[in-house]
Symmetry: D2
Subunit: 286 residues, 4 copies
């Protein structure tokens, strides 16, 4: 592979040989663990988030995803339940012993999201929002850094370098599809970036096949493929009533589809001598 | 052209038939005017910015561009002179009766940049930084909104819609090249977006062929082409010593190249019954 | 500009300093001439092609374009009138003293198309059809080599190198838009390639804004922009009844639109000290 | 998934519900089989091809790939051993009871390649070479149709439709990466197209991760990922001395890497209730 001098440092394998493993209260991300993060695109109401969270906890899923503050291309689209959404997610997650993964769109929201979330997500539109990256480099919770929709591998690692060089080493990369000429899928999920990142960086990397494809039927095969390619986990959208979802229904899994996904992911994880981290009894306590 | 219902409203031709013309103290952007904005990629020191500004003022250029706070892909690259850069630009512009165009990267800097600048620029990486767009929708100075490097026409107009719907109608669009497979140029300058924007929106649109091509020799032909295509102006990088520039030297024009550019732009403007706004005697007074 | 060793040779400026000018019976392409090529997307019937040809000849246009054999993405689409189309084009062109530009899709058709055409066009899908390029390198008529829809500058010049190295130096390059993420236009017309090609190669280059944009209203501004950027001409689609065209009606100009285009192109050509080659009295004789 | 009327017919699931399984003398492609095709990028000499073929046959691989006629971007690059290459491949394959997969670039070569090959490959540059597609629609051997480097799913299926509508139903699709802005990999391997093709078409689809990534270290993870995503097989480049290969050495596997790949592919195939077709004793006889 390429040997030319790299513009990033702290995120590189040269800087740190062993895999970075990120510890949360109830789980670890990276190393031999395969992490499943699941939940709705957006938190919509109490019933929805508690129903989904209960289902996931029964499946021993440890990390709940959900959007409270939603970046939307149009100022007129549903922008999320905001703080109410964060509170609902936290309540649901606490009831079922899960951790919360949710997006922080703005620096003014870092404190608030920090209070409710266990992992703070940077969305694809904000990968080069340096004000936000610097703010997140000063906190002590893990950051899920999504790849910009037209960002190169190098730009992505440099965005992570912003966070590490500011003092926060807990960065999880998340491939979520890139923008190409192909419109048959919502984005083009670039799985080849996974083993390449693994070779060049010590950071864990997970894959989001829901955003990556935009098509429910592709989420399970692409999740399994992601794990086969060496990803440390997948983040998928699951909904109790996908056809009534306020956003991204067509890419949200039904409960039984998610159950089937888990079975396949477990098996393919074994091939890479890894295991999904959900058979444990330790629960998150707040 | 397309007749389907559009997701944007305030920026559309349907909403407002006549061209938006944006008034500054010393010039107007849009309408029959062709606007030239010029200056270095980054403000580097007093001598540099005053030398360039003096040259441009002699050419009757009314708007000075220059980066004080620079968004950089790497945390280790030169990040600009910051506030010192803003002060230098303002001093130079005031001495020569020019206006200042400079980027505002972060919401925390809006007040500071507002104080020194006449036009606040949103860079390509921030086109969908909604926190920033909303902050800028609350001020009364014009916003130069660069197109995201992988943003569609619709996403771009919706980003402008964020600013207009927040209360600031003074938005100038700026095409600066999109990211494609072609690496012979730094970006692919999408001039066809210019007449398409003109058909769909009442907002003025200018073109940045320096960022758009990354190659000094292409800046003049693409400036002329941009005006031919119907753009309301161009923004180009000019430097007294391009080969010693701290950033983007290879795409910066020499002074004599800029003079030649002006002559050609004047002529092509006439074809579209427009004229470059620099023969006036009114000067900016602060 | 780039100084690294180039993989192409015969097409390069290093190999031949002066512009290649290609002589036809009634016109020259390159040098100080600006060439206008116009006609329908496809030859449809005798009335259509003679009507269009008569109009163009009255405008002193010297080169008639039209598809007889049409490469179509679907095997079920209209594939052109084939040989009958070639015959009709030839008859119309002869009647009005014009030259014929038409596509040759296949090696088995080279002899036939050679017989009827003055310039043989290689379409975007065939830019790397080496069998076809080699066959065309053995004939003595000019080749209009369209850029592949995802071809880099280097690949395009190497495709031309195939033709020159086989013995045919009469190659005209034609930029017709590249495939990008942007779907607001049919393709993204890459005008910055024009001055870059001019710097790197001695071959003439023309631009096809009809295919390049797919939108009638953009054809005139982009034609003018192409000439402003330094192109040696444009090729545009014109139809007597665009709304009834069998293919590509939405990008075909009405007659009066074409007249307006000519006037603007003439003016912008002057700025580059060039002139449209249609004021001559010499006519093509066969 | 999408329900709009599709422009293709014979290749669609609506036309034919059950998977197409393509029978060769020594193996079947599609159905429950996972197919491995391996060999050098180009046939270079007798020793090379026999050594590689012997190794593969010991591994019970049934299909040997190798380029004899090579489409090259530059007319000055190594163009393959041509007919000598075909003869050597056939001899090696016959000695070890294997089938031959090789590219046919031109219609004039169809008869010759047909004589020596078991599967005729259409390269990415020729996916819309309709003369070639039609010629191949008239033969009775399987066609491996590579995706054009900037072809959409729809264009690809329509290219296959050309072959089926001409009479040859034995088409195997091959995803080999698309052209995007990302240059860290040679192409962007689009694995999400695999389950989407499976939903829309009855044709078998295999994946070429060697061309798709251009990086040896990524070939195994992406092969495993391809099978996990539902592909019917993979085609990979293997070489006895990759560092001395005349073409594409950096993406060719060492023998022991290929052995490791096989083990992983076997395991992941099982998860999808499929098995690699190489444990059989039946040998190809000519």
């Amino acid at each position: 592979m390429e040997n030319k001098r790299k513009p990033y440092q702290l995120v590189s394998r040269e800087w740190k040989k062993e895999d970075t493993v990120i510890s949360l209260k109830n789980t670890k991300i990276g190393g031999n663990n395969i992490t499943l993060i699941a939940g709705p695109c957006a938190v919509e109401n109490e019933d929805q988030i508690f129903t989904i969270c209960e289902f996931l906890s029964k499946k021993n899923i440890k990390l709940l995803r959900g959007g409270a503050y939603k970046p939307r291309t149009s100022p007129y689209s549903f922008q999320g339940l905001k703080k109410d959404g964060l509170i609902l997610m936290r309540q649901a997650a606490d009831k079922y012993g899960m951790g919360v993964v949710t997006e922080v769109m703005e620096t003014t929201l870092v404190d608030e999201v920090y209070h409710y979330a266990d992992i703070l997500q940077v969305g694809t539109r904000n990968m080069q929002n340096y004000q936000l990256l610097r703010a997140l480099s000063k906190i002590d919770k893990p950051i899920l850094l999504k790849r910009g929709m037209s960002s190169t591998l190098e730009e992505w690692l440099l965005a992570a370098e912003y966070i590490l060089s500011g003092g926060n080493e807990k960065v999880i990369l998340c491939e979520r599809g890139i923008r190409t000429f192909e419109t048959a899928t919502r984005n083009t999920l670039d799985l080849s970036i996974v083993p390449l990142i693994k070779a060049l960086s010590h950071l864990p990397i997970i894959v989001d096949p829901s955003q990556g494809t935009g098509i429910r039927e592709l989420v399970t095969p692409m999740s399994v493929a992601a794990i086969a390619a060496g990803a440390d986990g997948v983040m998928v959208e699951v909904h109790n009533y996908p056809e009534e979802a306020l956003s991204d229904g067509p890419q949200s899994l039904y409960f039984d589809q998610f159950t089937a996904l888990m079975e396949k992911v477990e098996k393919v994880a074994e091939i890479n001598n890894r295991s999904v981290d959900y058979h444990s009894d330790e629960k998150l306590v707040y």
